[in-house]
């Protein structure tokens, strides 16, 4: 038991899981931060990304690391479509408010159900997986598979890219401005509509990429998405709005908790740990994700 816990392998698995969570949470954080829309269908994009990658590999033999780009673009377009068709009108007139928040939540839930069941209908509920880079590599006494390493590297690189984008790019700065103070951002000339559109696109795209990475190491199934949404919520609650670095630390903490928690107990406990953390966090911080109401309004 101690051997397992002390092995680098478990630590590595925790890191890989944490990087995936960080990437999933990033997109959720963007959409929530700029529009106060809680996208409960976020995890379903992970699922869609997984399926796109699976089919590209199974039918066309395309390497997941290559189809990644196409997956990201497809999901970003879906984000653009969702924003244009469903959310712009609702956000447009009065901006955000409790009513819009509640309605958008129901909207996302409706969409989530539709997407999940559509996937179950088309792809059948059977989980699907493939073998890619599954050879075991040895680094010192740490044994790991190539696909895990690739997933960790890609997820970390993409997180870094988004952080740099938000820090240095004009559009990234505008996104952060929108998160901090919506009215003030509008006053100084931020094109809110365009930034919201971009947030949807980036948020959806990164989630799908996370799904592509997950599909390299785990099986994909139509109803796999929601735990990712929950994990992303946990990460955001711990990390904070617009604080993507904090979110990343939180994501790795959750990855460690889940991996070591399961190693210490059994796989039955995985969901209990995840949902337990989630419930405990929200109860501890009833004001929601961000205790800064003065900034929010």
């Amino acid at each position: 038991m101690i051997d397992t816990l002390a092995s680098g392998q478990l630590l590595f698995a925790a890191l890989a899981l944490g990087a995936t969570y960080a990437l999933v949470a990033l997109g959720l954080n963007l959409v929530y931060g700029t529009m106060r829309l809680l996208n409960v269908a976020h995890g379903d994009l992970v699922m869609l990304g997984g399926y796109i990658t699976y089919w590209a590999f199974a039918l066309g033999g395309v390497s997941p690391l290559v189809s990644l780009l196409g997956t990201a673009v497809a999901a970003a377009l879906l984000g653009v479509l969702a924003y244009r068709l469903l959310f712009r009108a609702m956000l447009g007139a009065r901006g955000t408010g409790p009513r819009v928040e509640a309605n958008s939540l129901l909207l996302f839930f409706g969409l989530s159900i539709v997407v999940q069941n559509l996937a179950a209908l088309i792809f059948s509920p059977t989980p699907r997986g493939y073998e890619y880079l599954s050879d075991v590599l040895h680094f010192g006494n740490v044994a790991l598979t190539g696909n895990r390493l690739a997933a960790l590297l890609v997820a970390a690189a993409l997180c870094l890219a988004v952080v740099l984008f938000l820090r240095w790019h004009t559009m990234g700065l505008a996104m952060r401005a929108l998160m901090e103070h919506r009215e003030a951002a509008a006053v100084v000339g931020v094109d809110i509509d365009r930034i919201q559109l971009a947030s949807f696109a980036v948020g959806f795209g990164t989630a799908a990429v996370a799904g592509a990475l997950v599909s390299m190491t785990e099986q994909v199934s139509p109803f796999m998405g929601f735990p990712f949404t929950v994990a992303a919520f946990v990460v955001i609650v711990m990390g904070g709005l617009g604080r993507l670095e904090g979110g990343m630390a939180a994501a790795f903490a959750l990855g460690l908790l889940e991996t070591y928690g399961v190693a210490l107990t059994s796989t039955n406990w995985r969901s209990i740990l995840l949902y337990g953390t989630f419930v405990a966090l929200l109860l501890a911080r009833p004001q929601g994700l961000f205790g800064r109401p003065a900034v929010m309004r």
Partner: protein
């Protein structure tokens, strides 16, 4: 809006449906049971969420607990006692969790209730796995006619309860909370107490409904008893029927039971998709629900 007239209408409808066992076979009795089940669940959900604006996405937890209680106490206590225990357990669970949970507001409340329901589901699964049960089977359950009238009674009870809340101080207080919680508190509405009371009241009948459904299904499997789709269906039915209206749940339920009878057995995924699409369309275009729309059209 006249809750008392609505009550008479709904109770008359429920009363009229009591002739179904005399006319139809087991199929129609089964349709009746699921109709009453959804009326009872949606009515209970609306009592809390429709009135107070605290949208619960975890009401299946009460249903599931009721199911679990009845299955585990099978052949230990009489059915009547088991059903009372099911309702009681749901109410106690609502009371205990309600105090911390109801401090959380808006979208966080919604996802928190969902998270709690999932957490309880996985805890029950782990407990059952530890006890060595993948599922449980119960034998010698009452006849389908008995279950029909039990469920009919629960639908009527839920409607009467929802009516009683609506015409009382509690109902007015909950509506005030929905419109503006701070203002309500300033004006002396005992906000915390009212929310908790509504939470408990909206939990007990789903507990009993779950118990009756355990008798109907004669087996228990945590993934089914705590299926989040049950919570989701309650919301969809209430939103489509109109959640601040006694007739709303009946309208929404009738619509969906019809849809589900056509699709559930052959194409459950298509059914769930229709549910999702309808919910999206109603949230976008008819947020006040069918009853709200019809009502407004008549007075305008």
């Amino acid at each position: 809006m006249n809750p008392t007239r609505d009550l008479v209408v709904v109770l008359a409808l429920l009363g009229a449906s009591a002739i179904v066992p005399l006319m139809g076979g087991d199929y129609w009795i089964g349709v009746g049971i699921s109709t009453f089940m959804w009326v009872a669940l949606t009515q209970s959900w609306s009592l809390l969420s429709g009135l107070s604006g605290y949208v619960s996405l975890g009401h299946v937890v009460f249903y599931g607990l009721g199911t679990y209680i009845v299955v585990t106490s099978w052949e230990v206590v009489p059915i009547a006692v088991a059903l009372a225990l099911a309702a009681g357990a749901a109410a106690v669970f609502a009371f205990v969790t309600g105090m911390p949970v109801l401090r959380v507001r808006g979208p966080y409340f919604v996802i928190l209730t969902f998270g709690i329901a999932e957490l309880v589901k996985f805890v029950v699964m782990a407990a059952e796995a530890a006890a060595g049960n993948a599922s449980r089977l119960i034998l010698g359950t009452p006849q389908i006619e008995t279950l029909f009238f039990l469920m009919l009674g629960l639908a009527a009870a839920a409607t009467v309860l929802a009516w009683g809340v609506r015409v009382s101080r509690l109902g007015h207080g909950l509506r005030a909370i929905r419109e503006d919680e701070e203002a309500a508190e300033t004006l002396g509405v005992p906000v915390a107490r009212y929310k908790l009371l509504a939470f408990v009241l909206s939990a007990c009948i789903p507990g009993a409904v779950g118990g009756v459904m355990a008798l109907r299904n004669t087996y228990f499997e945590p993934l089914q008893a705590f299926d989040p789709m049950i919570s989701f269906s309650m919301i969809a039915m209430a939103v489509i029927g109109g959640s601040d209206d006694l007739r709303g749940p009946v309208v929404g339920t009738a619509f969906f039971v019809f849809l589900s009878e056509m699709l559930w057995a052959n194409a459950p995924q298509v059914y769930m998709m229709m549910l999702g699409i309808l919910l999206v369309l109603f949230v976008l275009f008819v947020p006040e629900g069918l009853c709200g729309r019809l009502f407004r059209a008549r007075t305008a």
